[in-house]
């Protein structure tokens, strides 16, 4: 287990934010290079026995960078599920969350395209999110699939959540597998050029097909169902609980740029939900000593039944938390 010291880290961050010189220092330490291609040119990744670039190991995605560039119209408490300011909700409202070992980069947001750093969400999708977040006490389908312990989705499962941040990549000839600590999912990506499942196949996480472009693993994902959400965790703020449609198309790129860093970027396209494609870029950090724990989420899920039973008590006239 990595050791965590919240106080020290908070102090470090405050200092970093306050003092420009420290920002420069943090910039030197950052593992996300400004120009991927440039670094990739100067560094040759190790190879697996069958000659593929070796991405294997345990990686984490701690970050201190907000998902989107903040805007004054944002309602962080609402996105966190705290609808009436009573402090009830499904997580802390700050994007900093429990991310005590966060890594700093120069980026102002993980969303790098459009340049505004804001995801181009269609109004209906924001309304849909608002309805769902406001009605989690009515029906479990109003929770994100993460709270239901089904999945954090693809690519949502790689967006920082603040904890449960471990990913193990394993490779065998013709396959790359990503084991997600959160929800204990093992995502197996075939590289043999087989076509997408196609037809009527609709999956929570879509259907991943990968290939190598130089040292970059490119994964193309289609075949999503329309029950999932693009992002599930409070750290993704306004994008949390935004629905995915069956037209969602995702392209991920994993490039190992040095011993300890994979540059991960993903383009998300869903003409029913977003007015244009958008892109997230963020580093994954190699952390061999990180211990992934079993995330037996459904087995211990009290959030869903407790939230629902709270709703039924409310229906019967029980005082709300606000009036107590």
């Amino acid at each position: 287990m990595r050791t965590r010291n919240r106080g020290l880290m908070s102090l470090a961050i405050a200092a970093t934010v306050a003092v420009a010189a420290l920002v420069a220092a943090a910039g030197q330490e950052q593992t996300a290079p400004a120009n991927t291609a440039e670094v990739a040119k100067n560094w040759t990744p190790p190879r697996t026995p069958d000659g593929a670039p070796d991405l294997q190991g345990i990686w984490t995605n701690y970050t201190g960078t907000p998902f989107e560039v903040p805007d004054k119209s944002d309602k962080p408490e609402f996105y966190a599920g705290d609808l009436d300011g009573t402090g009830r909700g499904t997580g802390p409202s700050s994007f900093l969350n429990d991310t005590t070992d966060r890594q700093l980069t120069k980026a102002t947001s993980l969303v790098v395209d459009p340049p505004s750093g804001r995801v181009p969400i269609m109004p209906w999708a924001e309304e849909r999110r608002n309805y769902k977040l406001a009605h989690i006490q009515d029906d479990w389908v109003n929770f994100t699939p993460w709270e239901r312990c089904i999945t954090r989705g693809v690519p949502g499962g790689i967006f920082p959540a603040g904890y449960g941040s471990g990913y193990q990549i394993l490779q065998s000839p013709g396959y790359v597998a990503i084991v997600y600590e959160m929800i204990h999912e093992a995502r197996i990506i075939p590289l043999d050029g087989r076509p997408h499942l196609g037809g009527s196949f609709r999956l929570w996480n879509g259907d991943s097909r990968g290939h190598w472009e130089g040292n970059t693993l490119v994964v193309d994902i289609t075949g999503y169902n329309d029950k999932g959400t693009v992002a599930t965790n409070v750290a993704t703020q306004r994008v949390r609980a935004i629905p995915q449609s069956e037209e969602l198309h995702v392209v991920e790129r994993f490039t190992r740029v040095d011993e300890n860093t994979i540059n991960y970027d993903v383009v998300v396209e869903d003409p029913k939900v977003f007015t244009s494609p958008w892109k997230v870029a963020m580093p994954l950090h190699r952390e061999p000593d990180y211990q992934m724990f079993e995330y037996a989420c459904h087995e211990g899920n009290r959030a869903v039944p407790n939230t629902l039973s709270g709703g039924r008590a409310r229906d019967k006239g029980a005082p709300s938390a606000k009036t107590q």
Partner: protein, 288 residues
């Protein structure tokens, strides 16, 4: 032909037949010379990569069991329980007396007690012989992934020495090593929440599982497991079954994210009523 001659011929033929097919079914005898028919990785170790599945009804009951009526009246023969021969060596699970009584009680209260009903993680060894495929990914740096279609369960088998597990979990901690052509997986740190089958066979958190995966041919693994739990059993006991390679064209693990299928059962009574509810029953199921 005299009856005794007939009998002798039949006996001889069946002995010969058994001898001929037994290596295929029973797997290799330990210490046997490596089978040249086994797929190998570059490092000379057997290559277990692929999608595998147990065929049989061990998940219904590890022991001998006759076919019987299924749990849902309306589903008739569709969910009736198939018959199966024991995968337990000697067909006896050596329960301590209290535990034998508890297993019987589990059997009688199967639907309300079997963790599979609620889509809970299956534990080991049950994950291996559930009626879903699983994929083995053997890697260059020795960790081996086993990913199960059921409930998106998975485990990474760490090769070589590992620290003791810090906490008990549903899937435990798997440490692997090669003994000749056999992948031996030592599973510890299992909690007491999982079962061995749908017949109420259970264990405590003292469970220690040692699995042996031995390739018999490119498309067949012999799977043997030693099960030890001094709190529940009087001695260690063994199960054995073949695992078959899924050779379906384009075979891949699909999603069986069964949480979605149990939410109505687990939380339905807490849902806000809209007036449109229909009673949940087999009659509501829509078949393709």
């Amino acid at each position: 032909m005299q009856n005794w001659v007939k009998g002798a011929v039949i006996a001889l033929v069946s002995v010969a037949g058994t001898l001929a097919i037994s290596p295929m079914i029973r797997g290799p005898v330990e210490g046997r010379t490596p089978d040249t028919n086994v797929l190998r990785s570059a490092d000379g170790k057997p290559n277990l990569n692929g999608i595998w599945q147990a065929v049989g009804s061990a998940n219904w009951n590890l022991q001998d069991h006759q076919a019987r009526t299924g749990p849902v009246l309306e589903l008739g023969a569709i969910l009736a329980v198939p018959a199966g021969l024991s995968v337990v060596e000697g067909n006896e699970i050596p329960y301590q007396p209290w535990a034998a009584a508890k297993q019987k009680e589990n059997y009688e209260n199967w639907l309300s007690r079997d963790p599979e009903v609620k889509c809970y993680l299956p534990g080991l060894p049950r994950a291996t012989y559930m009626p879903y495929p699983f994929q083995i990914l053997q890697t260059g740096n020795n960790d081996i992934l086993m990913a199960y279609e059921y409930a998106s369960a998975s485990r990474v088998i760490k090769m070589g020495k590992v620290e003791p597990p810090p906490v008990d979990t549903w899937m435990g901690q798997s440490a692997g090593r090669w003994e000749g052509d056999t992948l031996v997986v030592d599973v510890t740190g299992l909690n007491d929440q999982t079962w061995f089958d749908r017949a109420g066979n259970f264990h405590s958190e003292a469970l220690h599982v040692v699995e042996r995966f031995t390739p018999v041919s490119p498309d067949l693994l012999d799977y043997q497991v030693t099960i030890e739990d001094p709190k529940v059993f009087t001695r260690p006991w063994k199960i054995q079954m073949p695992l078959y390679r899924r050779q379906d064209k384009g075979a891949q693990l699909l999603e069986f994210k069964c949480v979605e299928f149990v939410e109505e059962m687990m939380y339905g009574h807490l849902r806000k009523k809209t007036g449109d509810e229909k009673p949940f029953s087999a009659a509501r199921l829509r078949w393709p």
